[in-house]
């Protein structure tokens, strides 16, 4: 057996050593179906041979589109086994974005989940001359589709089994040919500027990152994970594919995106990766349910929750817990914390990770206080998803953790975080220039994030380096830092702050329709739509208070002075944020330039003209008047 230097070889190892252990599960018709590593291997083999029989060549690119499904993961591994390259794409992308990626990556085969995705491909067919085969997973509604180039997953696998009869060791021979320096996956970065770029991640990168992830988080084959984050996101590739193959743990695909919360509870995975939004939603849902509970339950919950938080604060400060508090938390563990963890599906978790954006300190503390080992992780697509991770004992809401093994971190010019190591990617596909811009001759990858290393050795990220500007008087201004303070409020969903070369800081805010709607209902405040709700004077007052609270922790000169409430949420379909919800700052500044002028021109009203893009690409423009508000003096507190 050759060395385990490529992902297909890890698959062979798992089939041999972990053959009877669960590899992947999918909930189908309400029941969890399990495939062992042996079955996983055979599924991949049959598909790969089918693709080979249909002419798949080394170096060809295969895209997958759809929700997390075992078959779409297998398709990616099948491509890798044949020396091909998987290119996962976001299933909710609009047609223009899909066409760009498929053309740019010269994709020749697409494996699609269902009719909905096949229809998107059909609509783009004329623009994709290189596309020669589309394979679909779910046959539902596909009976009337008759195209030479469209085949069902079963048919391709059947072709593969026939091919195997004539070419007995073809699969194994192809796997032998895969080299560690070959590209294992092309992961398109959502890019806050311009078109997405295809980051080429090699097998060596994948294995390096899987190793450091395993070491930093003590993953074993007994662990279980929930595979529910978009497959096109590098984080899911690292977690479900790379670490899954390397460690041999079991990944679980939820029944549908709507059932994730329930599936999580049923499964009780031992590990979980979730962006801040999910943690915030969990906490919000819990608070809503608490406020609907009977008074005695509510008070019990509130009592033990506050005891847990006091205990957590003492623990973080390294102080001893008073006996009373120790008793309260011990009781709370039995009556409140464990049942709550169970309800959330977190009862069996050894650790859970949050990353991609900062998580509010209150939310962070809540989960840790009820006994969820929540930790922060930091990485980017170009570093194969992982740079640093918090050790169990050093979890805190403000750092990104310690650099993982095999990764060097240093701070470059303008405070930019530089990363070097085996996990740094090979480069951008067909974009030498962009590659040279981010990887310097010494091999350091320029993350574009501004940050520093704290005395404890943890990396701290402040903002995107290129976004850090200065107010007119020269005070440094980090927009994301300010926005995060605002987004810690449950009522604020998105925020964009301005201030570069301006006399003061101002912000555009998109309210969270769920929590603000709930707040309005409790006050008997009627509203019809997001637009209507966002322009209620009461809502403006609510948000003003939230901004004042955020201002408390900001230095005097960068406090937010003026704000307005947007009449719609920022949307990836309108190119205002990326699919991973990062603000596309330049685009937004351009699009809302009239509003920004009004914010700084002392006007108390602005005309907001918003273009809305529907999922099928149609556009509509909506004009509305929004009022501009002064934050005013922070209310005196007793």
């Amino acid at each position: 057996m050759a060395e385990l230097t490529t992902l297909p070889r890890l698959l062979q190892r798992n089939a041999r050593d972990l053959g009877a252990r669960p590899a992947i599960r999918e909930k189908d018709r309400g029941i969890w179906q399990t495939w062992t590593w042996r079955q996983y291997h055979d599924q991949v083999r049959d598909l790969a041979l089918g693709l080979a029989a249909l002419g798949f060549q080394r170096g060809e690119r295969l895209s997958v589109i759809g929700d997390n499904r075992p078959r779409l993961y297998w398709a990616q591994v099948a491509a890798q086994c044949l020396g091909g390259v998987p290119v996962p794409v976001y299933q909710d992308s609009i047609a223009r974005e899909l066409a760009y990626v498929w053309k740019h990556a010269e994709v020749s085969v697409i494996v699609a989940e269902d009719q909905e995705q096949v229809d998107k491909i059909l609509a783009l067919r004329a623009e994709l001359p290189g596309l020669r085969l589309v394979v679909y997973d779910d046959p539902r509604g596909m009976t009337s589709y008759r195209h030479e180039w469209l085949k069902s997953y079963e048919v391709v696998q059947e072709t593969g089994r026939k091919f195997a009869a004539d070419h007995p060791s073809y699969f194994e021979t192809e796997i032998e040919k895969v080299r560690p320096e070959d590209v294992a996956i092309i992961s398109y970065t959502s890019g806050t500027t311009g078109n997405p770029k295809g980051a080429m991640i090699t097998h060596a990168n994948a294995i390096a990152v899987a190793d450091s992830f395993r070491l930093a988080s003590s993953l074993t084959a007994d662990d279980t994970a929930l595979a529910y984050l978009p497959m096109a996101w590098a984080g899911d590739s690292v977690y479900t594919l790379f670490a899954g193959l390397s460690v041999g743990f079991c990944a679980n695909c939820p029944e549908s995106p709507e059932t994730v919360q329930r599936d999580l509870r049923e499964l009780g995975p031992t590990t979980l990766l979730a962006p801040p939004r999910i943690w915030e939603n969990m906490l919000t849902a819990l608070q809503v349910r608490t406020s609907d509970a009977t008074p005695i339950k509510r008070r019990t919950f509130e009592y033990f929750r506050s005891a847990a938080e006091r205990a957590e604060i003492l623990r973080v400060e390294g102080k001893r817990l008073p006996v009373g508090l120790r008793l309260a938390t011990a009781l709370g563990e039995v009556f409140v914390y464990r049942p709550v963890r169970d309800q959330l599906g977190l009862r069996q978790t050894r650790w859970v990770l949050t990353g991609g954006a900062p998580l509010g300190p209150d939310t962070f503390r809540f989960f840790r206080s009820i006994g969820v080992n929540l930790k922060q992780v930091y990485g980017s697509t170009e570093t194969t998803g992982l740079v640093s991770l918090q050790p169990d004992a050093e979890a805190n809401p403000s750092t990104a953790g310690r650099p993982v093994s095999g990764i060097e971190v240093k701070i470059g010019d303008r405070g930019e975080v530089l990363v070097r190591g085996a996990a740094v990617f090979k480069g951008y596909l067909k974009n030498e220039e962009a590659t040279r811009e981010v990887i310097d001759p010494d091999g350091w990858f320029h993350t574009g994030d501004a940050g520093f290393v704290d005395p404890q050795g943890h990396l701290v990220i402040i903002d995107r380096a290129k976004d850090v500007g200065a107010l007119a008087d020269g005070t440094p201004f980090a927009p994301q830092f300010i926005e995060n303070k605002l987004k810690f409020s449950p009522y604020i969903r998105e925020a964009v702050s301005f201030g570069h070369e301006k006399p003061f800081v101002s912000a555009m805010i998109a309210i969270d329709p769920g929590t603000v709607g709930n707040w309005a209902e409790r006050r008997g405040l009627p509203y019809t739509s997001y637009m209507d709700l966002s322009q209620k004077p009461e809502v403006r007052d609510l948000i003003r208070e939230e901004i004042r609270r955020g201002n408390e922790t900001l230095p005097e000169s960068t406090k937010i002075r003026r704000f307005l409430l947007l009449t719609k949420d920022l949307d990836a379909d309108d190119a205002e944020i990326t699919r991973t919800r990062k603000v596309r700052r330049r685009y937004v500044a351009d699009k809302y330039s009239a509003v920004i002028d009004a914010l700084y021109g002392g006007l108390d009203e602005a005309v907001l003209s918003t273009a809305i893009t529907y999922e099928d690409g149609r556009q509509a423009t909506i004009q509305s008047r929004v009022s501009i508000e002064d934050v005013g003096e922070v209310a005196a507190r007793v």
Binding site: D28, R140, S256
Partner: protein
């Protein structure tokens, strides 16, 4: 190809008002046939006669050659005709899953004693029925609603569950009475997609009453037009669209739409 369902000169009057007068219609196996017409044209009455809720005063209805003119609704259902209602008819307090399981009731054979003992035949039957219901849940993409009481669902979703309840019968012929009434644009598109899928995947014959002309013309193989209880046209969507009598019934003659009130 012979007709799966033959309606021969059926008439039905309520008091002095003739809702349906000597209407004949042949429904072919595997087609989507839409019945359209102004309010009160007799569309729902026709559907009620097919499903056995009303019995025609005159005329005959033949289902696969068998005379069902005077059969009870339960008998017609057993023979493979399922329907949905203009006003949703679900058990609001019961979950989606229970409503769908109930839809399979006519397909269950276990008697009181067997059900009481449960283990053995009744259990096997329950499992088989549940599997079929899960297929439908998967088909209609309502996995997240299994345990939700029907009454708590949005209107468009209730319509979808009602379609599921009808499908649970494993019908040969599916009668849909305004499945898109009251739905928004997106819900209509979803429903049209489901109807086409049911028709194509399972070969189910579909008789559809619908007011949204765009949908009717898009998904129907044939269209029959009723006006004041009479069939005034029948043919492909294009033929019907070009028919002068149809244009008159819809646009020209305001009396047709207001005189009889709503009988359906």
């Amino acid at each position: 190809m012979s007709a799966q369902l033959e309606i021969v000169e059926v008439s039905k009057s309520f008091g002095g008002v003739q809702a349906v007068g000597r209407v004949s219609l042949e429904v072919r196996r595997g087609e989507i046939l839409s019945v359209i017409g102004p309010n009160g044209a007799g569309k729902t009455t026709l559907l009620n006669m097919i499903s056995g809720f009303y019995h025609p005063d005159t005329g005959r209805i033949l289902l696969e050659g068998r005379d069902v003119t005077h059969s009870a609704p339960s008998r017609v259902a057993e023979l493979g005709v399922a329907r949905t209602f203009q006003n949703i008819a679900l058990f609001r307090g019961m979950t989606v899953l229970d409503n769908l399981m109930l839809g399979r009731h006519v397909r269950m054979k276990a008697g009181v004693v067997a059900s009481f003992i449960y283990w053995g035949f009744a259990q096997r039957e329950e499992v088989a029925n549940r599997r079929r219901v899960e297929d439908i849940i998967d088909f209609l993409r309502i996995q997240d609603l299994r345990r939700r009481p029907c009454g708590s669902l949005a209107y468009g979703l209730q319509k979808r569950v009602e379609l599921g309840r009808a499908l649970a019968l494993d019908p040969k012929i599916l009668l849909l009475d305004e499945p898109m009434g009251g739905c928004n644009h997106e819900e209509k598109e979803d429903m049209a997609r489901f109807i086409l899928d049911v028709n194509q995947e399972w070969g189910t014959t579909i008789i559809l009453i619908e007011h949204d002309m765009g949908v009717v013309m898009d998904i129907s193989d044939r269209v029959a037009v009723l006006d004041m209880g009479q069939k005034i046209a029948e043919g492909t969507p294009d033929e019907v669209r070009a028919n002068p009598q149809v244009i008159k019934a819809y646009l020209g003659d305001a009396k047709g739409a207001t005189n009889g009130g709503r009988r359906g």
